[in-house]
């Protein structure tokens, strides 16, 4: 594999370019040469299809994936959870602040140690800690963390990831501004004003921070994510609320705050469950696309998330203030919201690996350009898509599931 004619003391390069004879200036010369590890267990010859596509396997190229799998590791679903919880907590804190805006909103703990303020304070703390953790997780997931700031080079509404970086930056700045004045030794009224205004800003920024991640993954070619773009942002919003409520149940603020959390939790968890169903329904419109929700690791995660969330909701509904059941509800809800994110990421992976998910979705007139064409068919008519129209008659019926 390596140039045999090179003497052994010279640095070997997998490009077979002798750096003393040829300059490494090509476009790909930035790529470091992989350490050529022995090949991973190659598929056995009887596992490899002998023909590019066989009738019973569906039309694909040797069953190879058509799309590239999402490269994100566990940091990203963890970020989806942390960011969602932080955003929803900030929003709840701002709402509580708004309700008692006149007269009462003081810096947490010191001036007015009222119960609402404990709720507001916890919300602010969760938001600030979440903003910090989000940034760490996001940076950790980049292959080259040193370049995180490049995300703020542009402002691009077609890239939810770019918009999200802006949301997160604004949210983080607001959270910091709402918490920092409390760490200041001498307290002045202006600090309180700054802190309250900033917490308000954090609440406003928390709403998109909590929900944009749904747009982020819906704006990909991954069939199950792209196909559920109506449900995903709403599901993430509800799940963020359920997650934040669960955390507050684990760490109850007491007094009226507990009531607020209880209501918030009941509503958030109910919505989370209901929207999970909507999400699964939207995916099921093309059976092949919803397959990852039923099979394999992603299916197991998805069912676990559903069970945990349902149990969390039941526990919340049955629990009384301060009872251990309420903490259990918080724990179940937290695990449920966390598992949900992992299930959705895993389902996306499985869905991208399956070439038939993409082609069947597009043949069914969804998740492709045909959907747009159909929408404005009333206007200037595009000619029928050759690739799509041709296969309609034979492909329109949902394909039988293959074992």
């Amino acid at each position: 594999m390596r140039a045999r004619h090179l003497p052994d003391d010279r640095p070997h390069d997998g490009r077979n370019v002798d750096p003393e004879l040829g300059a490494l200036l090509g476009e790909g010369s930035h790529q470091r040469v992989k350490d050529l590890a022995p090949s991973p267990a190659a598929p056995r010859s009887d596992e490899v299809p002998s023909l590019a596509y066989e009738a019973d396997r569906g039309r694909s190229y040797y069953g190879l994936p058509l799309l590239k799998e999402p490269v994100w590791r566990w940091y990203v679903p963890a970020y989806f959870y942390v960011g969602g919880v932080a955003g929803a907590a900030a929003a709840l804190g701002a709402a509580a602040q708004l309700a008692g805006w006149r007269g009462s909103p003081g810096p947490v703990r010191q001036r007015h140690p009222g119960v609402e303020h404990r709720l507001i304070g916890r919300c602010r703390l969760i938001a600030t800690a979440g903003a910090g953790a989000s940034a760490v997780l996001l940076i950790a997931d980049l292959g080259r963390p040193a370049r995180f700031l490049d995300m703020l080079r542009v402002f691009r509404p077609t890239s939810p990831m770019n918009m999200g970086t802006w949301f997160l930056s604004a949210f983080g700045a607001c959270c910091a501004a709402s918490t920092l004045p409390h760490l200041w030794p001498a307290r002045r009224p202006w600090q309180r004003t700054v802190s309250d205004a900033a917490a308000f800003g954090a609440g406003v920024m928390g709403l998109p921070l909590c929900t944009y991640t749904g747009v982020l993954i819906a704006n990909t070619a991954v069939p199950i994510w792209h196909g559920t773009r109506n449900a995903l942002p709403v599901l993430f919003g509800a799940s963020g609320a359920a997650g934040a409520a669960s955390l507050l149940e684990l760490w109850p603020p007491g007094g009226t705050g507990d009531d607020v959390v209880h209501r918030f939790s009941l509503l958030g968890k109910t919505l989370e469950l209901a929207l999970g169903e909507v999400f699964a329904y939207e995916a099921r419109r093309v059976p092949r696309v919803a397959r990852p929700l039923r099979r394999g690791a992603s299916g197991a995660l998805w069912r676990t998330a559903q069970v945990l969330s349902a149990a969390g909701l039941a526990a919340t509904a049955l629990s009384r203030r301060g009872s251990p059941l309420r903490r259990t509800a918080g724990l179940l809800g937290t695990l449920g919201a966390l598992t949900l994110r992992f299930a959705i990421l895993q389902a996306g992976r499985a869905s991208a690996r399956d070439p038939l998910a993409t082609s069947e979705q597009q043949r069914a007139g969804r998740g492709g350009a045909a959907e747009l064409t159909e929408r404005d068919r009333a206007g200037a008519s595009h000619p029928a898509l050759r690739g799509v129209g041709a296969g309609r008659e034979t492909e329109a019926a949902p394909r039988e599931e293959h074992p």
Binding site: Q31, A52, Y62, V71, R144, V154, V234, T358, P383, V388
Partner: protein, 307 residues
Amino acid sequence: MGFFTDTTLCIGCKACEVACKQWNQLPDDGFLFTGMSYDNTGQLGASTWRHVAFVERTTRLPGQGTPRDGTEAGTMAFAPLRPAGQPGTTSLLADFVAPSHIESPVPLGPTQRALSNFSWLMMSDVCKHCERAGCLEACPTGSIVRTEFGSVYVQPDVCNGCGYCVSACPFGVIARREDDGRAWKCTLCYDRLKDGMVPACAKACPTASIQFGELGELRARGAKRVEQLLARGVAEARLYGESALAQPGTEGLHAFFLLCDEPEAYNLPPDPVVPTKHITRAWYAMAASVVGLAALCLGAVAGARRT
């Protein structure tokens, strides 16, 4: 500028793969064998910017044959299809080779019967340099730009390795390399174009299957070639992604293909769309969600205060 890849002319020699690797000094992929057909590359990737697909089928492709069967006549058949700015193909068959019909001296029996119902399609796949590119629109750093040649170019010094483009490409082209965490793909040989040369793959293609030139000219050639094939009985011949009308999802490809089967056979999506084309719906859903979440928070607070 762009590519027109006429898959009916591809002989699966992989000269394009090698030329691309060599010119761009891409490292190897580890020399793995997939075990299927002659395709040991599998798919496009961060260090594979051209990939030759070998589609083996138990179908007969009408009109398929060798010059000996009288269906092609040496380089004459390709003469009008020479890559722009190149003297000609480097086929060993000279123009004067006349089509002839040679039958095997002895009947081949079952082999012949089996082979009569068998065909190979080959296609040299590459980044499509979409007119509206999913990777470009998704990139949060502005690392992916459109060059003066209309191609889509990733600036390696700006890319921060977020991997968003990887999931945003409807063709599964661009990939992130684990070792440096950046996204890489075909550059349409930007450095060669700058110097007035054709891309390495097109230069190396011995059969003019990969043709490089002005898009308008290439489209005309493609249309002509399809006509030629249809007249010869290859009813499946079709262009893939040649214009915005043919592929509204990407508004046309700067690297389009002549195919002899449905796109899925070649691992191409039948109806690709830039995910961003559907993004407004998702933003609306998010706006609804933002309002809903705000109402949820306010409702929880207001409801509790009355108790």
